[in-house]
Symmetry: none
Subunit: 251 residues, 2 copies
DNA sequence: CACATTTCTTCAAAAAGTTTCATTTTTAGT
DNA sequence: ACTAAAAATGAAACTTTTTGAAGAAATGTG
């Protein structure tokens, strides 16, 4: 059996079962624990699943509720640190803040609750709910909802965003290339992200260091158009970024 | 059983029961008290629940969290019965179903998951989320979100609704007057409800019997324009309704 | 205060994870 | 097609984490 084939089987199984143990995967793929563990380590690094003691856990939000999803996410602590830094440095009282759908940007919400008179505009269903629960005035973008990321996308969403102006936008990214391209897998989401940035006076891309050097199908912006917020970077990570990048390292 | 699995079970159980004892959780997960205690300590540290002498307590803010609130709602069982009746009698495979924001109509979602190829369009944030979690294709209406009911309202929402046609709409009501007026307290929500009904080929108002004879500020439709779905009524309740009403009593 | 629970502490057994290494399988170059 | 280098695999020894039990300490109740 090919490595890719096996990992694909593992991915499906984990996503279908939410959690599973190593032994199950051994039976499933007829390989040793060693191999499965090596696969899991590699797959965790790629963000396909999360390793837990005894097995692996899905990072996709199918049957779980929101709060669980957010907690079980990869690099959760880093995301919170980014969010806190971004919220306290780049948001003013009275701002109209656009928050992109996604787990990193989601973490911004609690920190915005302390800033007077902010309004949140978002295309993330969970983000909207969280914002409401924090008593923040909330505007939701309408349209089709993607079943995996729960992001609102499509033409309706796009034209609604284009009819508004934001003080500041916070956008998530799946990859930052050496040449400065910011990327995400889904072209539909990319179109939305591009509009979010265009309609904002100031635009910030929140991306933890694992996204550096990653490359996805759809380009939605270039580093010269935005400010990139990340965690502390090693020198080799910095070398993998464009020289003229407008970068802020949290803390 | 894996730690994550167990803690997930504990979280659900505690949230559903508000408080519970350690021994209950032992039975539930078939583990020792030691393990449960260790889980509770860890979960308390993560803010998932609160430990109290003898067990654990939910920390969810019920007044704000609608989706949790739903099950503690007044007449919860009646609402489920209405929803099941409505879903199984008035929805066809392939329908585009509009579901109004609100706790009664929210209950429709699980029953629609079994009907092939339905699409849900809604202005309820929790309803959308629930729909997604059931794997149903979902379209969300955009606009301002009301902080108490979490219903999407306003001009943007209105024009988005008017740009669509639904096979069937399910709308909630706060009051049904003797003269056939269907009412709700907020005029903004009333405007939305009126549009939801207008754009649908078939429109159903879901209202349990406690709404009969109630009168609210804003009228959004008349009984002659819709089919009203309620639970079993007494003869005096029937007498408080217009004579020409198109009424369906669940079960 | 006395009593019954509940919680905390400690410890050893069991389960899971890591590291290392010899062996097999792939890959790439000639 | 052949061979050497690289990568992947499975097994073993060893480390860490998790678990349940038993006794000590703390807590709530009448």
């Amino acid at each position: 059996m090919l490595t890719q084939e096996r990992q694909s089987i593992i991915e499906n199984y984990v996503n279908q079962h939410e959690v599973c143990r190593v032994s199950e995967l051994c039976d499933l793929t007829e390989t040793s624990e060693s191999t499965i563990r090596r696969d899991l380590i590699q797959m965790e690094k790629n963000g396909i699943l999360k390793r837990v003691h005894g097995g692996a856990q899905s990072v996709k939000n199918f049957s779980r509720d929101v709060s669980q999803n957010v907690r079980f996410n990869l690099n959760h602590d880093v995301k919170i640190a980014l969010a806190q830094y971004a919220a306290s440095n780049f948001v003013q009282p009275g701002d109209n803040v656009f928050i992109d759908a996604g787990t990193t940007t989601y973490e911004l919400v609690p920190f915005l609750a302390d800033i007077p008179n902010v309004k949140i505009i978002t295309n993330g269903v969970e983000t909207a709910l969280c914002s409401l629960n924090h008593g923040i005035k909330t505007i939701l973008i309408g349209g089709e909802v993607k079943d995996d990321t729960h992001a609102v996308i499509g033409q309706t969403a796009l034209s609604q965003i284009k009819a508004m102006n934001f003080s500041v936008s916070f956008v998530g990214a799946n990859g930052i290339e050496q040449n400065g391209n910011l990327t995400t897998p889904d072209p539909e989401e990319a179109a939305i992200k591009a509009a979010e940035i265009k309609q904002a006076r100031r635009a910030y891309v929140l991306a933890d260091s694992s996204k550096i050097g990653e490359r996805n199908f759809a380009v939605f912006a270039h580093t010269r158009d935005v400010c990139v917020v990340t965690d502390q970077l090693t020198s080799s990570q910095k070398a993998a970024l464009p020289a003229d990048i407008n970068l802020k390292e949290a803390k």
